[in-house]
Structure formats: structure tokens, C-alpha cells
């Protein structure tokens, strides 16, 4: 359509630029994948390479040694991501819509009410008290879902999209004596599909990548999400090297910790599914955009 009118040469230039950028973006991941398929001894001797010099599946054998644990971690992550994204996206949309209405005099103070929490936080300790001793949600999936449900950043972005919905549309609906709920569901949500798709993506990625709430609130090994497993594997290396003298003099671990290739295999397992899911999400995302731009 539009692209037809772009001169051929400059279009080639744009493609060339994006191809180079894409290589820069994907390269490191390829390196990680390559390391995960390399033999450990070769890595230690010759360093990393973009193609495994000595191909080996050992790393995956180590990481998947306890397939039940990994499967469980996937289950937790997927469940939390889906539930959190649906609830979070809905709440983000309703809240953002309310403060985006220009004739609602409390919109401005409401915006500040939300934005203020982006700047100030009470810190870890009071949040922990709230979650564990007031709400008693320690060792539950609720702790994971609730702690990332609504972020001020996302509400603000959503608001940024929603203020662009022309006021006349809302007014004319109101003349037809439509209720706010109806307006929100029938008009605002369909018009905001591009925004919903974008934020849905962000919220789901946030849930997928979140490990800190789990580190704080989850003691039960059955409820540990995938990312926390990954972070623990990576951090345990940090921990061991920081305290190497201490641990070695106590006669611990040393030979016990995950090899480099195993760590990278874990990275691949943790990031992989979302990268495969991304294009599917994207199709919906682009379709949504078309609908949005048509109606807008």
C-alpha cells in the first residue's frame, strides 16, 4: 500500500539497516545457544564461539536431569503469566480510561495519585509485612500475581493512548444514553486494540521475567517459577566466586556447581518459549492495529 510509493533504493537502505541492527540484537542470543550446545571442556580450553566446535547435549542433560522440576517451574510461570496478564491488562485499561477522560475533574489528581507511587515506595520491608503478615499470601501464587498486577508506568502509557480517542465519539454515545460501562467495552476497548496489544505484551513479559517477588515470597520449591531458577543458577556462581575462599575452606561445593554450558542452557530454556510465542502475539498485535487505525 503505502510502501509502494517508497523509492526502491532508499527502501533497500532501510532493509540493510534493519538487517544489521537485527544481527546485533540476535547475535548474543546465538552465542548463548551455541555455548549451551558446546562441550564444557572445549569451552574452558578455547573460549566461546558462535558455532559449537565440539557439539554436546550434556548441558541440557544436566539441566533436564529433573524434568519434573523444570516442568513444574514452566507450569507456575505460564499460569502466573496468563492470569496476571488478563487481570492486569483489564485493570490497567479501566484505570487509565478513568483518568484519561477530560471532563472528569478528578482525572488530574487521579493521575498524580498513580504517578506518585512510581516515585515513592515504602521499600521492601513494609511490602513484605503486608504480603506475609497482613494478607498471608506467602507461598501462594497470589503473591506472584498481585505483586506485578498494576504498574503506574503501564497505566500512564495506556492513558497516553486513550486520550487520543476523540471526545465526540464518547459524547455521541452518551447522547444515546449509553452507560459508561457500555462505552468502555463497546467503544473504548475496540478503539484501543493497538494499545491493549502493546501493553498486553509488556505485562506478560514482565510476568514472564519476574523473579524477585518469587525470591521473597516463595519458599515452597514446587512454586518456584522458571526465571527464579535461572537467576539462582546465575547468582549462585556470583555467590560462589565472591565467597570462594570461605566455601572452599569449609570443604563445600567447588565441583558441585553448574557448568557454563548448563547455565546457558538454562537461559535458552527460560527465554526460548516467549521468543517463539512472540510472533503469534504479534500477528494479533498487528491485526489489532489495523482495526484500530481503521476506526480511528
Amino acid at each position: 500500500m503505502k510502501s509502494a510509493s517508497v523509492p526502491r533504493f532508499s527502501k533497500m537502505l532501510v532493509h540493510l539497516m534493519f538487517i544489521l541492527v537485527s544481527i546485533a540484537m540476535i547475535g548474543p542470543l546465538l552465542l548463548i545457544v551455541s555455548i549451551s550446545f558446546s562441550s564444557e571442556s572445549d569451552l574452558l580450553r578455547n573460549g566461546y564461539s558462535f558455532w559449537p566446535r565440539v557439539f554436546s547435549l550434556d548441558a541440557y542433560a544436566i539441566v533436564l536431569k529433573a524434568p519434573k522440576v523444570i516442568a513444574q517451574a514452566y507450569g507456575v510461570t505460564i499460569l502466573v503469566t496468563i492470569a496476571g496478564t488478563i487481570a492486569g491488562l483489564f485493570l490497567t485499561a479501566t484505570t487509565a480510561y478513568a483518568i484519561s477522560r477530560t471532563n472528569f475533574r478528578y482525572g488530574r489528581i487521579g493521575t498524580f495519585y498513580i504517578f506518585f507511587t512510581m516515585l515513592f515506595s515504602g521499600g521492601l520491608v513494609p511490602s513484605y509485612i503486608l504480603m506475609t503478615q497482613v494478607l498471608h499470601l506467602k507461598d501462594t501464587l497470589w503473591a506472584l500475581i498481585l505483586s506485578g498486577l498494576l504498574t503506574p508506568f503501564n497505566i500512564m502509557i495506556m492513558k497516553g493512548f486513550m486520550v487520543k480517542v476523540p471526545g465526540e465519539i464518547i459524547e455521541s454515545a452518551k447522547v444515546d444514553s449509553a452507560r459508561e460501562w457500555t462505552i468502555f467495552f463497546r467503544i473504548i476497548l475496540p478503539l484501543s486494540t493497538p494499545a491493549l496489544a502493546t501493553l498486553g505484551l509488556f505485562i506478560s513479559f514482565n510476568y514472564w521475567n519476574a523473579w524477585f517477588p518469587a525470591m521473597l515470597y516463595i519458599d515452597n520449591p514446587d512454586l518456584v517459577p522458571l526465571q527464579l531458577m535461572l537467576v539462582r543458577i546465575m547468582d549462585s556462581i556470583e555467590f560462589l566466586s565472591q565467597n570462594e575462599q570461605m566455601l572452599s575452606q569449609m570443604g563445600s561445593v567447588q565441583a558441585n556447581f553448574p557448568a557454563l554450558s548448563a547455565r546457558m542452557a538454562m537461559v535458552v530454556l527460560a527465554a526460548g518459549p516467549m521468543l517463539i510465542v512472540f510472533p503469534f502475539f504479534q500477528r494479533f498485535f498487528v491485526q489489532g492495529l489495523t482495526v484500530g487505525s481503521l476506526k480511528g
Binding site: 571442556s41 574452558l44 580450553r45 536431569k65 529433573a66 522440576v69 521492601l124 520491608v125 513494609p126 513484605y128 509485612i129 506475609t132 503478615q133 525470591m215 521473597l216 519458599d219 520449591p221 518456584v224 531458577m229 537467576v231 539462582r232 547468582d235 549462585s236 556462581i237 556470583e238 555467590f239 560462589l240 566466586s241 565467597n243 570462594e244 575462599q245 570461605m246 572452599s248 575452606q249 569449609m250 570443604g251 563445600s252 561445593v253 567447588q254 565441583a255 558441585n256 556447581f257 553448574p258 557448568a259 557454563l260
Partner: protein, 513 residues
């Protein structure tokens, strides 16, 4: 059946029993509760009226559920079956069960700091002087004072360890922790691969100072291509090798009975040491990436380091060092006489939020005095997680789902099994080494940082800017050491040292009385 009966009995008279039983335990002065409860006859429910004089047995106590946080290296898949086994074992003895909550080493500090600061109730917690600090947390009121509790419920535990160990658990004169007893006699020195030591006739007995290693390094460098003479990624400064007393990271000297603490980085000995390190670095004795190496153990596994440095050189430690060295045998080359460095490297404390402190102490006593329970926690279930290959030696089954490799976190290691490769007399030698090692004049001193917190924080923050590159010889001390010293001065070193000295004087005065 017995359990069910007991539970229902407790249920009926719970109102009465709860109050009476607690006071009963409080009054009875029984040192043999462990033995008493171990016998099955202790099942008798006992009448509430006779409690005051009778030894209170576990079944007199209301059931309790304890929570125990401790450090683990990696997640253990089969923790549940070990926990079940532990509870089966301790329930008749203590009428309590325990929830084992191992926390990954990387999360430990953050998680425990948050948990303690938010007043979460739990009972036992692992602490130390290098991770989740025992001293400062005690000063901030995180742990329960144990003197009375130990006298009432932990006499056997108290008797099982030398008095010196308990002395090290004292903060402001009171005991706040139970040491996980292990090697405490430490001597810093080199760890040399045996194949090279033999080949180049290195005699450990003849190495008296750092410089004595130089001919060996030179030979390695000349004759062993691809081998690095000395592999490090942190400091290897042992003040005692230069004749300066050193304890709790604080150098000090005693002149006419007056102890003066010194700042390590303005000491001429330190300057001399880092100058030597730089010389070694320039001569390529030291690995060139010593300061930037991300993970030394990864490299060490390949066996390219002819020697490394270690601050413990513990009895039987060669086996562990061998495993970390890619399976090459090693020999220890100590530079100094062993010193008793105290037992704060691994401690179990009772949380200030514990609802059952008496039961927590009883459990700690059992873990530290009953090899069956200790071994269960440290190594898992026999023939499942490990198999016995000698009287007291086991072979760990690495794929069975329980192999924490952290026996020193659970309790007194000397009552437990040895793992494959450790000499049979390891524990004898450990105890003997601890008993015979010298004690520093500052032994037992605990610095209270409260009044110089700001200085401490800033000193810590500037430390990593210069210390590592100086310690590893990566940079020339002539230009960087003065910068470092200057920065420490500005961070409030003088005030910090003055406060330290003041507290040391006070400590020595109180000890003298």
C-alpha cells in the same frame, strides 16, 4: 496410634496443658531431657500436678512446629523425604516437627534481612561472619539471648563443645548463637599441585615466606608451557606471615601489654606485599586476568594453575582441593602456624521472633549431639542418598536428589560421617588442631559498628575500587596505594580506627577483670 492418642489428649486439655506445660519446663532443671525422651516409656502422659519436680519429657510439651532457615548451595529435589524422615525421628523425642527451609546462597542475605526486619516468626536461622552477619544482626536485636535457655534445655549441647567456642558466641557478654563446630584452626598458605611439587622438588617444610616460592614459580614458568605458576582472583595477604598479629580482619600489635590496632593499608608490610605481588604479576607468575576473572573455579577445574592460595589448610582438606583442581592431587604449603580463628564462620541462632525458643534449643541440641539426626540432615537417607563404604565414611549418590554438600551448615561436623577421600582420622585431627591452636589476644572481641556506621559504609564502598587490583598485583602500588590510603582517610578512617581502639581497650579491660 500412640501419636493419635496423644494428640487427642492434648486436644482435650489443651487450655490447661498449654499454660502448665510451659511453666513446668521453665521450672524443671533437667539436663537429661534428650535421654529421657529417647526412652519409649516417656510416653506416659504425666499428670499436670506432678510436673514441678519431675523431669519434663517431650510429651509433656505441647506439640510445636519449628521453622528452620539455613543456607544451601543448590536446590535439593528430594528435600521432602528427608524432612519427613527427620520429623519421624524428632517427633517422639521433642513432640515437635520442623519445617526445613533451605535458602539459596545467593538469596540468603536479602531474604533473611527482609524477613527479620519485618518481624516474621520463625525459630532457627543460620548466620555467620561472612554472610548474613551474626555480630551486626545480634547488635540489632535479631536473635534471642541463649544463656538461660542453654542452661535449661541445652546442657548436653553446651557440654559438647569447648568453652572457647561459647566464648566466641558472646556479644556484649551474652551468648547469642550455637556454633556449627568445625575446623577453626587455620593457617594460610599455598596449595600446590603435587605433580609439580614432586617434579621440581618443592619441600613444603622449607617454605617460610612468600619469597621462598619464587624459584618454584620461575621453574614452572620456564618449563611448563600453558601452566600458570600462581592462580588467584583475590588477596593472598596474611599479615602473620610478616610477623604482625591479625584477627577478624584487623591487624594489631602488642607492646608491653598494650594492644594497638593498625590500619592494614598503611602498614609497611602491606606495601611490601603488594609490591611483591606486582612484581610477580609483571613476571607473569600470576594469571594476568587475576583482577577481572569472572569465575576462577571454572578455570581451576582445568588444572592450569600450578598453585593457588588458601586461608584454611584444614586437616583432610586436600580431598576437597583435589576435586576443585580437576582431580589433581595437591599438597598444602602453610606459611604460618595455625591460629584458632573462632567459630563464627557457621552459626545457628534462635530468632527473636521464635514462639518456641525452648523447643528450638532442644532441636539444636539434638542435631549437634545425635549423629543419626545430624547425618540425616547433612547427607540424607542411607542407601538412598548415600551408601556406607567404611565405618564412618560414606559415598554420596549424586543423582538421588539430596546432596547439599553443606554439612557445616547443619551442626557439629565432627559427629557426622566423612565423605569418600577424607582420611578416617579427619575429625580427630580437626578437634586436636582446634584444641592446640593458639588464640589471639583479641579472641572473642565483637566490634559494635553502630556509632561509626557511616564511616564503615563508606570504607566498604571505596574498598572494592582499589583493593582487588592492589592485592592481585595488577597495578603498580607506587601510584595506586597512596590514592587508596587517601580515599580511606577521607571516608573517615581515623574516626573508625579510634572507635575500634576504644572498644578493644574496653574489651581487654573487662576480660582482665
Amino acid at each position: 496410634m500412640k501419636l493419635v492418642k496423644k494428640a487427642s489428649w492434648t486436644g482435650v486439655s489443651v487450655l490447661l496443658a498449654a499454660s502448665v506445660a510451659v511453666t513446668a519446663c521453665g521450672n524443671s532443671n533437667n539436663g537429661n531431657s534428650a535421654e529421657g525422651s529417647a526412652s519409649p516409656s516417656a510416653q506416659s502422659t504425666g499428670s499436670a500436678s506432678s510436673t514441678a519436680s519431675a523431669p519434663s519429657t517431650a510429651s509433656d510439651l505441647p506439640p510445636a512446629e519449628l521453622t528452620w532457615y539455613y543456607l544451601e548451595s543448590t536446590q535439593q529435589a528430594d528435600l521432602k523425604s528427608v524432612e519427613a524422615e527427620v520429623n519421624k525421628y524428632i517427633k517422639p523425642k521433642l513432640n515437635a516437627t520442623v519445617k526445613l527451609k533451605p535458602i539459596a546462597g545467593s538469596d540468603y542475605e536479602q531474604k533473611m534481612n527482609t524477613s527479620i526486619a519485618s518481624g516474621e516468626p520463625f525459630d532457627l536461622v543460620w548466620t555467620s561472619d561472612w554472610r548474613f552477619d551474626f555480630n551486626s544482626n545480634t547488635q540489632k536485636g535479631a536473635f534471642l539471648e541463649l544463656d538461660e535457655l542453654l542452661d535449661k534445655y541445652g546442657q548436653k549441647l553446651k557440654a559438647s563443645l569447648p568453652a572457647a567456642a561459647w566464648e566466641d558466641m558472646k556479644v556484649n557478654g551474652k551468648i547469642y548463637g550455637i556454633p556449627n563446630y568445625q575446623i577453626a584452626a587455620k593457617s594460610a598458605g599455598f596449595v600446590v599441585q603435587k605433580r609439580f611439587a614432586d617434579k621440581y622438588h618443592l619441600d613444603p617444610g622449607k617454605i617460610k615466606s612468600y619469597r621462598d616460592m619464587e624459584p618454584f614459580f620461575e621453574q614452572i614458568k620456564q618449563n611448563e608451557p600453558g601452566i600458570i605458576p600462581f592462580g588467584i582472583n583475590s588477596d593472598f595477604f596474611e599479615a602473620r606471615a610478616y610477623g604482625v598479629d591479625y584477627f577478624n580482619k584487623m591487624p594489631h600489635k602488642t607492646v608491653d601489654g598494650k594492644v594497638t590496632v593498625l590500619d592494614q593499608f598503611t602498614m609497611p608490610e602491606y606495601k611490601q606485599h603488594v609490591a611483591m605481588a606486582h612484581e610477580w604479576y609483571e613476571k607473569k607468575y600470576i594469571n594476568q586476568d587475576a583482577a577481572t576473572l569472572k569465575n576462577k573455579a571454572d578455570v581451576e577445574k582445568t588444572g592450569v594453575y600450578a598453585s593457588t592460595f588458601d586461608y584454611t589448610q584444614k586437616p583432610g582438606g586436600e580431598a576437597a582441593a583435589k576435586a576443585g583442581n580437576g582431580g589433581n592431587d595437591v599438597v598444602f604449603v602453610p606459611l604460618v602456624e595455625p591460629l584458632f580463628t573462632g567459630v563464627t564462620a557457621s552459626i545457628t541462632a534462635v530468632s527473636g521472633t521464635s514462639k518456641n525458643p525452648e523447643r528450638a534449643v532442644m532441636l539444636a541440641e539434638l542435631v549437634n549431639t545425635d549423629p543419626t539426626l545430624y547425618n540425616l540432615l547433612a547427607f540424607g537417607i542411607e542407601n538412598k542418598h548415600y551408601t556406607k563404604i567404611g565405618d564412618n565414611t560414606i559415598k554420596v549418590n549424586p543423582s538421588a536428589g539430596y546432596n547439599p554438600g553443606m554439612n557445616w551448615v547443619m551442626g557439629n561436623v565432627t559427629i557426622g560421617y566423612l565423605t569418600e577421600g577424607q582420611p578416617a582420622d579427619t575429625w580427630e585431627r580437626t578437634k586436636q588442631a582446634n584444641d592446640s591452636a593458639k588464640k589471639d589476644v583479641l579472641y572473642g572481641f565483637k566490634f559494635n559498628v553502630e556509632s561509626v556506621k557511616a564511616e564503615e559504609a563508606n570504607l566498604k564502598a571505596v574498598e572494592s575500587e582499589f583493593k582487588k587490583v592492589l592485592d592481585t598485583g595488577t597495578v603498580d602500588p607506587d601510584s595506586y596505594l597512596p590514592q587508596y590510603v587517601e580515599k580511606r582517610k577521607k571516608a573517615g578512617l581515623d574516626r573508625y580506627m579510634a572507635e575500634y581502639q576504644r572498644q578493644v581497650d574496653e574489651f581487654l579491660k573487662s576480660k582482665g577483670q
